[in-house]
C-alpha cells in the first residue's frame, strides 16, 4: 500500500484571548471570582456614542477659558447630533473653525465665548456659516511635566 507522509510544522502563532480570572485550579472549590469575569473598561465606550460620526479636534486660543477649555485640549465632536440652545458647538464661520456656545435669541443666532475679553458674535446671512458638530467631551492633560 502506498502511504504518503506529510510533515507539518506546529502552528504556535494563533492567539485566542480569554478573560483572565483564574485563581488556580482546585478540584471541588472553584474561585468565587469566576462568576464575575468582565472585560476591562474602554474609554472609547464611555466617551463615544456614535463612533462613525465622532471626530477629534485640538483647541487653539483662549476665548473659552472660563469654561475650562485651554489651548492643546482635545475635543470629542459628534457630527450626528442636532444643534440646540446652549450646546458647545464646533462651527465653521467665514473660513475658520471656531468653538463657542450656541445661543438662540429672538434676534437670531449668537456664538457666545467664555472669556470676558471677547464679544459674542451674531451670525447673520452675510456670514458663511455652518455648525460642524457638537462637542460631547473635552480632554485635558493634567499631567504637565
Amino acid at each position: 500500500m502506498n502511504k504518503e507522509v506529510k510533515i507539518y510544522s506546529a502552528e504556535l502563532h494563533a492567539f485566542c484571548a480569554l478573560p483572565f480570572a483564574d485563581k488556580g485550579i482546585r478540584a471541588g472549590f472553584p474561585s468565587p471570582a469566576q462568576d464575575y469575569i468582565e472585560k476591562s473598561l474602554d474609554l472609547n465606550e464611555a466617551l463615544i456614542k456614535h463612533p462613525a460620526s465622532t471626530f477629534f479636534g485640538r483647541v487653539v486660543g483662549d476665548s473659552m477659558k472660563d469654561c475650562g477649555l485651554e489651548e492643546g485640549d482635545i475635543l470629542v465632536i459628534d457630527k450626528s447630533l442636532t444643534v440646540y440652545d446652549g450646546a458647545m458647538a464646533v462651527c465653521f464661520i467665514d473660513g475658520e473653525f471656531t468653538i463657542k456656545f450656541i445661543k438662540k435669541k429672538a434676534g437670531g443666532l449668537w456664538l457666545m465665548p467664555a472669556n470676558s475679553a471677547y464679544l459674542p458674535i451674531q451670525v447673520t446671512s452675510e456670514n458663511d456659516f455652518m455648525v460642524w458638530g457638537i462637542v460631547t467631551y473635552s480632554i485635558k492633560n493634567r499631567h504637565k511635566r
Binding site: I7, A52, S53, F55, K65, K79, S80, T98, I99
Partner: protein, 418 residues
C-alpha cells in the same frame, strides 16, 4: 430589491468635510505623485476638466479659475470610507462594500423605498459630511443604472428608484451601452458592430445570440438589465490572491542603489499587508520601468519572477528575494520612473510543509515581525524598517499638496479656534 450607494466625488467631498471653505469651489484631487486628475468637484467638471488629465496640462486653467488642488490623502479617504460603511451597515439587513466609495445594499423587506433611501442619505450626510446618491432596482446592474440617474439629475434628490417596467425601459434607453456595469471596452466594440447603442438596444438582442456571442458574462448583464436577478451580494471579504505595491518615483532614477531602496520598501510594505491577512508568499514578481510618456528617452520594461524556498511572511526574506529579482533585471543607462513588487502566489499561513534544510527559528521571527507591525501600526508610518529600505529621499512620492490626516494622526487634528 438592491440599492447601490455611491459617494459623490468622494475624494473631493472628504477634503471639503475638513475644509468647508472649499464648498461650491472647483476642487481637484491628483493621483500619486501629483500625476493626473482622479477626482473632480462638480464645479471642476463644469470647467471641462476630464478625469485622468495630467496635472501639468492644467497649470493655466488652475491658475485662471483659482482651482484648489490636492495630492491624494488615502489615509483620510480610507478612514472616511470606513465611517460611511459603518453607518450603512447599521440600517440595512446586509451589504457588500464594493469599492472605497460604493456599496450594494440589500433592501429586502423594506417598504417606502424612496423615503427610506432619503433617510439613509441624510444620515450619512449628517454623520460624516459626505454627500451620497442611491440607486434602487431589482438587480445589482439596474441599481447601478439607477444610481447614475440619481447623481445626474437633481430632481431625484439623490434617490432614483426603478420599480416598474416603464421606468426600467426609459432608463435603459437613456443609458449608453458603454456605461453599463460589466460591459467593458471590448464588449462595447462588439456590440457597436451589432448596432447596439443603448442598454435598451442590448436587451432587445435575442437571448440565444447573447449566450453564443458574449458567453456567460454577457448573458448575466443581459438578464440583469431585464430585471432577472443573476448576481447576489458578495459579503465574504475575499482574501487577496495577490498583493501589489508599486509607485512612480518623484523624479527619474538611474542608479541601482536607489532602485534597491524603492524595491525593498515596496517589498516590506507587501510583507506587512501579507501578515495582516495571515498569508505566506510562495513567489513574487519584481518589475521596473522607464517613463512611457517620455518617448524621447530609451525605453525599458522588465519583470522577474522569484520563488521562495520556504513560504514566508518574514519581511527580511521577502525583501531579500525581491532584491535578488531586481539585480537580475536592472540595466544601466535608463531613466527609471516606476518600480513595484507583486506577491503572486500566496498560501494560508497554517500549516505549511517544512523544508528539511530549514533551520530558521520561526517563533523568534514571528515575534520580531509582530513587534514591528505593532510599532509601525501605532505610528501609522513605517518607523521601523530595514536599513536597505533607506530614507526614500531620492525617489519618494511627490505629495506637495496633501491635506492633513485629520482622522488618523493625533498630531494632525483639525485646529479649532476658541
Amino acid at each position: 430589491m438592491f440599492g447601490l450607494l455611491d459617494c459623490n466625488n468622494f475624494y473631493v467631498s472628504c477634503e471639503r468635510v475638513f475644509n468647508p471653505a472649499l464648498c461650491q469651489k472647483p476642487v481637484l484631487v491628483l493621483s500619486n505623485n501629483d500625476g493626473c486628475v482622479i477626482a473632480r468637484s462638480n464645479e471642476a467638471k463644469a470647467l471641462g476638466i476630464q478625469m485622468g488629465t495630467p496635472a501639468y496640462q492644467l497649470k493655466r486653467v488652475i491658475e485662471r479659475e483659482k482651482i484648489h488642488v490636492f495630492s491624494s490623502n488615502y489615509a483620510l479617504y480610507a478612514d472616511m470610507s470606513g465611517r460611511v460603511m459603518q453607518l450603512l451597515e447599521s440600517c440595512v439587513p446586509a451589504m457588500e462594500v464594493y469599492s472605497i466609495d460604493e456599496a450594494f445594499l440589500d433592501l429586502t423587506g423594506i417598504t417606502q423605498l424612496t423615503s427610506f433611501g432619503r433617510k439613509i442619505i441624510q444620515m450619512v450626510m449628517r454623520g460624516t459630511g459626505i454627500p451620497v446618491s442611491l440607486g434602487i432596482a431589482s438587480t445589482k446592474t439596474l441599481a447601478k443604472v439607477a444610481n447614475k440617474f440619481a447623481k445626474k439629475y437633481q430632481s431625484y434628490q439623490h434617490v432614483c428608484l426603478i420599480d416598474t417596467q416603464e421606468k426600467r425601459e426609459k432608463a435603459l434607453r437613456l443609458t449608453n451601452i458603454s456605461d453599463v456595469w460589466g460591459i467593458g471596452h471590448r464588449l462595447t466594440e462588439k456590440l457597436h458592430q451589432e448596432g447596439v447603442k443603448t442598454a435598451y438596444d442590448f436587451t432587445c438582442l435575442p437571448r440565444a445570440w447573447v449566450r453564443q456571442n458574449l458567453h456567460l458574462g454577457g448573458l448575466c448583464v443581459w438578464q440583469e438589465l431585464q430585471g432577472e436577478k443573476c448576481l447576489d451580494l458578495e459579503q465574504e471579504e475575499m482574501e487577496k490572491k495577490q498583493i501589489c505595491t508599486s509607485r512612480s518615483f518623484g523624479e527619474m532614477v538611474t542608479e541601482l542603489s536607489v532602485l534597491k531602496e524603492a524595491i525593498a520598501t515596496h517589498a516590506a510594505r507587501c510583507a506587512a499587508k501579507l501578515r495582516k491577512q495571515n498569508g505566506c508568499v510562495v513567489s513574487l514578481v519584481v518589475f521596473i520601468s522607464t517613463n512611457v510618456h517620455r518617448t524621447d528617452l530609451p525605453q525599458y520594461w522588465k519583470s522577474q519572477l522569484v520563488s521562495l524556498l520556504v513560504p514566508s511572511d518574514d519581511t527580511r526574506e521577502i525583501v531579500t528575494a525581491a532584491l535578488h529579482g531586481l539585480e537580475q533585471i536592472y540595466k544601466q543607462g535608463y531613466n527609471y520612473k516606476k518600480a513595484g513588487v507583486i506577491l503572486t502566489e500566496i498560501v494560508a499561513k497554517v500549516p505549511f510543509q517544512q523544508d528539511l534544510f530549514d533551520e530558521k527559528n520561526h517563533e523568534k521571527a514571528f515575534r520580531l515581525m509582530q513587534a514591528i507591525d505593532q510599532i509601525n501600526g501605532f505610528y501609522h508610518e513605517c518607523k521601523i524598517r530595514l536599513a536597505v529600505e533607506g530614507t526614500g529621499r531620492r525617489w519618494r512620492l511627490k505629495q506637495e499638496k496633501r491635506s492633513l490626516c485629520y482622522t488618523t494622526n493625533w498630531r494632525e487634528l483639525i485646529r479649532i479656534r476658541t
